[in-house]
Symmetry: D2
Subunit: 308 residues, 4 copies
């Protein structure tokens, strides 16, 4: 099997301040499909194109932010093997029973040294994307809002990104794709890691406070869809942080914006295809602005300071 | 390592009738970069964005067609292991010494039951894409012609596509992504296989004659680049088979066209992201036209009969 | 006033074989907005973005084709003056009372030497495009189907295109933008005329039978919208004549397709901006294929023979 | 003649601080074609697609800014007639002899109440766009840089925009397309005027100092070309003011950036088709931010203050 172990980002569970307002936002503006609610009050979403039951889950809380971020692995064998490698590295793991998250199998949860809860799981019910597996049409009509292709990745902020990277690389088989350096020319300010053929599946920025969310990202297929997304944000008075613009890092195009609770979200498009024989790309401290915002070639204050 | 074994299509070695005319075509019209010539007269090309020394090689011959198609594997360990699995399946393998193909390590060559020569190799010199690994710009200026991103996949025609699929799946870890059925509703007319997260890395159509090439495909990043490619073909009086149009299969957009020797080539764009937990898509005999040419919803005669 | 006289194509009145099926087609697939029906059974449509009450009207008949094609003129003064110029040229004109066509003022109707009924009118009720004239959003959400920007132009087939051109140029102030020549290198096979800054507002092909419709065209804003339109046609099993492709003539991109009654329609995108100081472009007989279908560089049989 | 009087923006003559650096910028980055230099040291450019000899002219000076902005009119009759209407309104006009500007006929120059020098002329040598008038290809290969379609419009800043608008409307036949209001809900902050079928050919913002240039704009054909333009600006370290983004006003997409002398320039794409039967659109003071920058829905400080 050419693709094995950790497959892809599977679910982000995010805290919101007002549930109804957030459901409306993620349904009408982002264009996700609500797929369920559970007894604890969590609301489940998937993109229309995703096949698994959920990829984005919100729950009401007093503060915004992310509860945990989960990755789907190939199968139960991979789950068990990865759990073993985590423990071998001294990472404490916890098994969350199947069904605790709707239509999702048993999960292995652990904390990485940035202070974030990460999960692995092998099973989530395939509810289909509405096109079927026989003679499907090219895409689904009658969707609404921005309608991204998938929940794509997240960027987390926390103290020990070196330690967290070690867990992702050594235990979970992720690879370093790009890095941005601090002024000393040695220490990483930020790293972009992949578990697949994407330019990133998770990224981390060094930050004093642990467990912080910079953004969860939803993928769009084309630059014209990025423009359409920005237009829809404007029509719905969504607060745009920056964009449409391009990242130097990953070469993708982007809009950063805020959900009604202040969680930063992204629509991301493009990004090169990555293979494990590629050397990582490095951004020096002087050019990290161009790496993050390729057109402006400088960071805005918010990028480094506003997290939830 | 989440991505292992066979990584991607690495080289296609194609026969042409007139070398100079072909070099001009692949350089000026397709926009490949010539990277070398060897004593046997072969001319080597890569796309500007590819990092390895070559991905497309031509040699002068009396008839057009494909000599062999090679896949890059993760490392020498993977090469040896895959070679062993081929032999375990009873597939005869041959080692071609390093350097026989310029800047390319030792290759394992074998024949699949469609009558095609397939190769595996672990090493090819990284000559870079001109952007470097430190603070790279977003893309390379001053390229010419169509300028595809990479050599992406090929479609081969031959008799025993079931046997060939078995080799790709069982020995090499490929997965079935899509299939088109014959009138009996059981036998495969064609199969699309992946070794990575792409919708296809190789495809096969059932055909009486062995070892035939339907097309080698070059990837473009956007639908606007597809239009530009068709314009450039027109300006250079390239014979277009069909397109710009969309495939139902893979959902990608396409132009099929012929090189000066009559080899069909493709510019391909898009195609969904594939993961090993996805069920294959099936196209029934009645809808195979829509599967291949989504807009016209019918095959043209050439698609099934003209191969080299 | 820099823009005066004839402003733009205003309405096409087209015959269909089945009214309900056609209403469904133009509403659900093309994405027009039905704006009214009259006592004679005609159904009125506009694009969502058009401001005037109607631009495309269908009526049930035993044969497909076009009843008449109307142009909006600047005001009643222009209408009267243009009517005078027509009569001065010996063109018989008829006044159709206001209201005969819903929400449309008095029309001046006449026949051009291709055998087509052409109309001029100054008034049609502005019913708005749903965005308003104060702080409008960038575009209208919740439309359906292909959703073109406007009814853009038509191509008519008939015998005396020289005579018709003379009427459009000398009486109505149109200009010749492009022409395609017959084998003799002198006689026009076809002409493209404009009354504004577009590459064409009406076009004519020399043809034995008078009064024939080749196509009515609807404008799209982007090449990605052209792909989306072709996808929607496929999803709705619309018969596509050709496309997506590019015209050499006007440089626009196109899909030709047939409505349920066999009337050819077009989605057109692009086309250069025209000004009256530009010399006309000529296509010689040998290259008329490239002029019409720039990628294939040859006409298909249907283009010259299938009309309604 | 449906299109008459003033046709379009024809030339902008702009002051730069360093001629060589500016020639390099407008040639290599913007991708204009240098078409000549005159004895006074002015350097002439056109876009590759424009047919007239020049549309953008620079001269060395101690301060940046615009000398004058010229419009091409239909013919000598129109020139004379428009000159007469200006004089009838009490606007002093001056005749500049043919040839004073290279390959340009006699010009009528006058000052509008914003303090800007405006010119009209009927003749400028058609040097062609390299494609010819017989069987042209769809576009010109082997261009460089951003390569806009045409010099499109300008935005000027000055005190009496009401008086200037009166000149453009009453003497020159321009029409009001959009307006932005001050807090009083009556006075115009800014107006957008057209002489053709474009959403604007010139725009004006009320400003204390007379004769100021906000930007000269170059048109691009697609949103993907806008992204490419921003990428090229980044690669050449061009200072981007804002963008890629959308204007609410005109609905066009935009990048504002600065030339090496600090003159703001724009790449503009899209914008709706305007006809004289359309009512003007109004932007209230509260929403003028959304009018100018549709995604951010607020002005940046630079937009109102930085002019040359």
């Amino acid at each position: 099997m050419a693709m094995t172990g950790v497959l892809r980002p599977g679910h982000a569970v995010v805290r919101v301040l007002d549930l109804d307002e957030s459901v409306k936002f993620y349904t009408d503006v982002i264009g996700l499909k609500e797929t369920g609610r559970d007894k604890s009050g969590r609301v489940y979403f998937k993109t229309h194109e995703e096949r698994d039951h959920n990829s984005f889950v919100i729950r009401k809380a007093d503060s915004a932010g992310i509860d945990y971020f989960g990755f789907k692995v190939l199968n139960q064998g991979a789950l068990k093997s990865l759990e073993g490698r985590l423990r071998d590295m001294g990472v404490a793991t916890e098994r969350i029973p199947a069904g605790e998250l709707l239509e999702t199998g048993e999960r292995v949860r652990f904390e990485v040294p940035t202070g974030h809860q990460i999960e692995l799981y092998a099973d989530k019910t395939d509810v289909g994307n509405g096109l079927g597996y026989v003679n499907p049409e090219a895409w689904l009509q009658n969707t609404r809002g921005i309608n991204p292709v998938r929940m794509d990745h997240c960027l987390i902020y926390g103290p020990d990104i070196d330690g967290a990277r070690k867990v992702f690389e050594d235990a979970l088989g992720f690879s370093l794709v790009e890095r941005a350096l601090l002024e000393d020319g040695k220490t990483d300010l930020a790293t972009w890691l992949t578990c697949s053929a994407k330019a990133h599946d998770i990224a981390m920025v060094r930050h004093g406070e642990p467990g912080k969310l910079h953004h969860v990202s939803f993928m769009l297929n084309t630059w014209e869809q990025v423009l359409r997304a920005a237009d829809i944000m404007s029509m719905n008075r969504v607060s745009i942080d920056i964009g449409p613009t391009r990242h130097g890092i990953t070469q993708g195009t982007t809009i950063y914006f805020f959900d009604p609770s202040g969680n930063r979200m992204e629509t991301f498009c493009g990004g090169y295809q990555w293979y494990p024989d590629m050397k990582p790309t490095t951004w020096t401290w002087e050019e990290v602005g161009a790496g993050v915002f390729y057109h402006d070639r400088k960071l805005n204050e918010r990028f480094l300071s506003v997290v939830t």
